[in-house]
Symmetry: D2
Subunit: 388 residues, 4 copies
């Protein structure tokens, strides 16, 4: 089985947005390890991201986190990025690190805190205007740790009210994507715990509000590709936050924990039109490289998405549907698995080279000397992490 | 803390529907144990159910399963039930035990099988007309065991088409409730795996289509009371299938595995208006008494719901909201737990007696000699189980 | 990367025992589907198993279930199997389908029931003497559904006493393997729920008592390859029951739900000496083919184990250890994944042919006409299932 | 049902060790909230802990964390504590916050890092000599995030070697307890992930090495009371780290998430002799008060343990065993639940008063003005948290 010309065309336009914060330090509540060469500024983060794109051709856009990536002049930052061949992408709001948000932000019982949180999001839209970003991504840490602590029901209504105000501020070409998460940092209830809640909240807003699906934000055992299929069917899959997990929101490299799951997800994306030319779906990484090299980790990640997309595009859908309709379980599964088991790496390497990219992006990056350069150069200052 | 007069009024109108199949044998794929006195006919099941109501005053309605409880004349069965002081309740369809449904029913790729499954549901509505039942409950075993086996996306559309036809057959006073389930009997994908899917499917039908929440049908760790609150907010919580679980769909006695969870659920029911006079929520049991006495198991179950409802009604909601608004986590949690820890059993026993019911329903049932009677009487014939 | 000569030698001696019951009907508590051609007798099951071996060369042994596969003369059955080129393997006891075992077998509080259960196992050893089987496999359904129902602590002591008596009956060349299971059919506690319990019980018996690891019998998220490594280190991994799962004990085809997990397991088997010439580890399937063709399902299963073994043997362990010692996370992971992603299927097909086996065992089986033969031949009688 | 005199005697000698770090700030990887009055020094932590004991009479001992609680003179610290009526308890080692431990400590492939980690533990024993502590608690963050990253098998052997050296340093009256954890901070494999691993490691050391069971460190659905029963049976339950969880290692207040589970655990403790006069079991809290008042949270925690112990002691064990032996599932469960549902709070309040303690410890603490005092007093300096 080889990758078809049609599939290569689809792969040629594939873009995976990388998160600025992946290049900074991250960790667990137990320890954040620092590493030589870690960026101190958003510019350095963008430079690192540009390396990923340079060697893969897959990642021309960097998502920003506000206020972690706050600068005085976002227009200037845009120019800086463009100078590196990069675009600025999704703006990620942050209402979980201010003391005021201890008991919630857009859902807080205190109108003053809600006001503050809404205003923060309005500022994010201002940033979007300057950066040319299309999407505002809202992930809320809002929730509670103890039964009785919060009024679950009322908070849904407050959330709706807050979102309406933010949604109304969006420009015609701008969108809001609302992320859901099963748990953490809240340990009893989350205000947006599942796709159903995100869906009903964005459906109440309008066409430009959509769901963001983070692959690590589900209960154990959840069939994620089903949700992908359902949201595409409903026209409400706005974006992916790709990563992988063995246990909880582990934020490992996408495809690392369960490559077959990534394949199944990409297959439903293909089936549901998510890789079409006019797809509404933004593909993004949202990962933490706690112990591994960050830039290599990002390169590995976008390649994993590319490789599994290629495998998903290999599925012989006509034969599959025939087997499905015939009730031929083993036949259908066999066709599906055949695509998954096909080693597309050599073909992709060759194709990459034909497009002026390195056959082996990781080797090319290692050989480039970039790492030695930043380790020598980035001495002193405060390494970026989740706190800044 | 004692139960208020207002709370007692609410408890006085509480009704929990019992399932006919709980009185028959059930088990696991490994073994179904039979027990002396098990009903052979639907009439015997209703007689057993009447015992639960007799001693508790809580369970005047029996849900039927079609075709397990099929009789020639459902009007006659209705009269039989009424003669025992019982009503016939929700009609449960069954599209999982016919060989034709091996690969689906309402979602099957073959139009002939879908036709058969739709017709089965139309027959169920005929039964409802005869029994005076309000609700048609649809639980689908539809799904697949292997990736690639089924076309997940298309099946959602087929499900919608099938449901439309069934919904259109409903009378003005009849409703459809669509149950969701995380897994089993399908082990890769279920066509209605979560509340979100059930919600979007019933929302596309109309006002008389609602969600049925079975407390055992969620992924590990799911915050069920959140879903209860959300569905009540959306006006789409049609009914509960009560039971409890430690692992999967264990179908244990409601409140047995996690009494505190039942308390939290009942609290959200109270908050969301689910115990109001005009509540749209039907409270039902859906359990299996694999190893325990079935009638005692059912009595225990309705009492558990009553006791946890009483505790939920004990919560000092004014004080709670004050503590919540003040960010007093321990205070709010303390108020909540205080209600849970209050032993309402003696008060309820006394109140039960004041209404002409036994203080101890299980003791009264045991003392009644009913069990000895049915063990002696029900000799020969085929004991009812899931197969019939 | 190609499979080394040394690896092919290891693969050449690989044997995967198949379970007689996989050829009979199986299902869930909701429905057992029957299929044309299903065996009615143990002889027919062995004939089907012989097909798997014929086309793969991987499965020369059939495990029996007692009393499902009870015959008057097990010596004769042995000859029958040998006539088909098959051996009789592990004897699986059954103490979960007799009414007496409702509340336990080897752990029952009633000495008479324990006696009965012990005697059953002694009979199993008699069968082993006749069949030449090495292993007695004990899986216990013992447990309870409700807190308080059983005396968890005392039952561990009773289990020990019962096992001692069975162990003492074993011949010098016979072994006992004790399986553990997280839940089902008991839904509150299982008497042997985890590898720790199985280990402490068999360690208290002696060298010929070992643990049986069923890949579907763990809590969600459990790192199974860790347990494999640990048990091999302790010298107590007696056997595998291979299957796969998305949710609970789904009993799907091994490698179907998570091929990468199977790869990781086989890698630890290789590392721990489990594929050495004198390995104490018996590799067995224990699966249910509820909706798929059973013989094809079995062929697919043994091929999956073979393919993942081949991939595991591809891992460049020297390079891996070097990367591990250097703290090169991405490098080590890359070496590991490289082996997993390598498509060994063509190489294996060629090698299979070189050994006189079909390149494509499933195609060969389908082309053989065996299925048409048994469908025409096996008419009437009672199809085998878990009940018989 | 009232608490028996015998039960009150048991309760009178109950002690629950509190962790020094519970009084400092804690949080998630997303945010650590600070609060006025948080201790800056270990002395201030001990002062706070003394408040818990003062109002409950339950918590005379404080566990220390090394090096978080490092002081120049631990003998002096011991005197300080004694001056407040407190003892110093378990010493908790820390090999997860030094950069050297990025890839492991006692299991690290580099002998120099293992040496450093072993030496750290030997220092901990020095501290124990000075503080008079009996127990050294070892919890290891050791593990890996990616398949292939680490040599799972070899690390078990290295762990054994490291533990031997530490064990050999212990005095005759000192013990080692080895904690296990399912996941976090490592997300692929943990070197001590389950009770089985902790058990085989400590069993290989000797009598003074035991298992530490943290109630939040298990896979979803794990029956913890079974493990409690098993470890008590094996004589290897050294200590509890109490807390509660809805999802992962949430570190909520013990009994907060599932009070019934705490009851079941305490019942097995009672049954297994864990509350006997000479119990080897140390009862400790290990919790994080991320959003709630820390001292009140600790008071609530020890009271929860006391209340559930009282309920567990209420179980009519004779009647229960009779029902168990009779196979009376509902009867046995009813006896068990009766104890759980009995509201012991008023009885305990009265008994507390009879012993010179406040009926309502939380109210007494609030009324004491201690909080206002520390908030005014502890201004400036660095609030203690996990980092120091």
């Amino acid at each position: 089985m080889t990758i078809s010309t049609e599939a290569l065309e689809i792969l040629a336009r594939q873009e995976i947005e990388v998160p600025s914060w992946a290049y900074g330090n991250s960790g667990t509540r137990f320890k954040v390890f620092s590493t030589p060469g870690t960026p101190r500024t958003v510019q350095e983060k963008i430079s690192d991201a540009a390396q990923v794109h340079k060697h893969t051709g897959l990642a021309p856009t960097v998502a920003l986190h506000y206020p972690w990536d706050k600068v005085d002049d976002f227009g200037e930052l845009r120019s800086f990025a463009e100078g590196l061949g990069m675009k600025l992408g999704t703006i990620n709001s942050n209402t979980f690190q201010d003391d005021a948000y201890k008991f919630g932000s857009l859902t807080h019982s205190d109108p003053a805190v809600r006001r503050m949180a809404i205003d923060h999001h309005l500022q994010c839209v201002d940033v979007m205007d300057a950066t040319g970003s299309r999407d505002l991504k809202i992930w809320l840490a809002d929730g509670s740790n103890y039964p009785g602590q919060a009024d679950i029901r009322t908070r849904q209504d407050l959330l709706h009210e807050s979102l309406v105000e933010i949604y109304d501020r969006l420009g015609d070409d701008q969108r809001m994507v609302l992320e859901y998460k099963f748990f953490e940092p809240a340990f009893y209830h989350m205000d947006v715990p599942d796709w159903g809640t995100s869906y009903v909240q964005v459906a109440a807003l309008g066409d430009r509000a959509m769901v963001c699906l983070d692959t690590g934000h589900h209960a154990p055992g959840t069939n994620i590709e089903f949700i992908v299929a359902q949201l595409l069917r409903l026209g409400k899959l706005g974006s992916f936050d790709f990563n992988s997990r063995f246990y909880a929101d582990d934020d490992l490299i996408v495809g690392a924990a369960d490559p077959f799951q990534l394949f199944r997800i990409m297959y439903e994306v293909v089936v549901g039109g998510g890789m079409a030319d006019d797809t509404p779906v933004a593909f993004m990484l949202d990962q933490c490289h706690n112990v591994e090299d960050k830039i290599i980790g990002q390169i590995r990640s976008v390649l994993n998405v590319q490789e599994m997309s290629a495998r998903a595009l290999l599925v012989d859908r006509n034969a599959l549907h025939q087997a499905q309709r015939a009730g031929d379980v083993m036949g259908a599964n066999g066709i599906f698995m055949d695509a998954f088991y096909t080693d597309v790496r050599a073909d992709l390497a060759q194709w990459r080279e034909s497009r002026g990219l390195p056959a082996d992006p990781i080797a090319a990056y290692v050989a480039s000397g970039y790492r030695e350069h930043i380790e020598a150069d980035r001495v002193g200052g405060n390494q970026a992490s989740w706190g800044a």
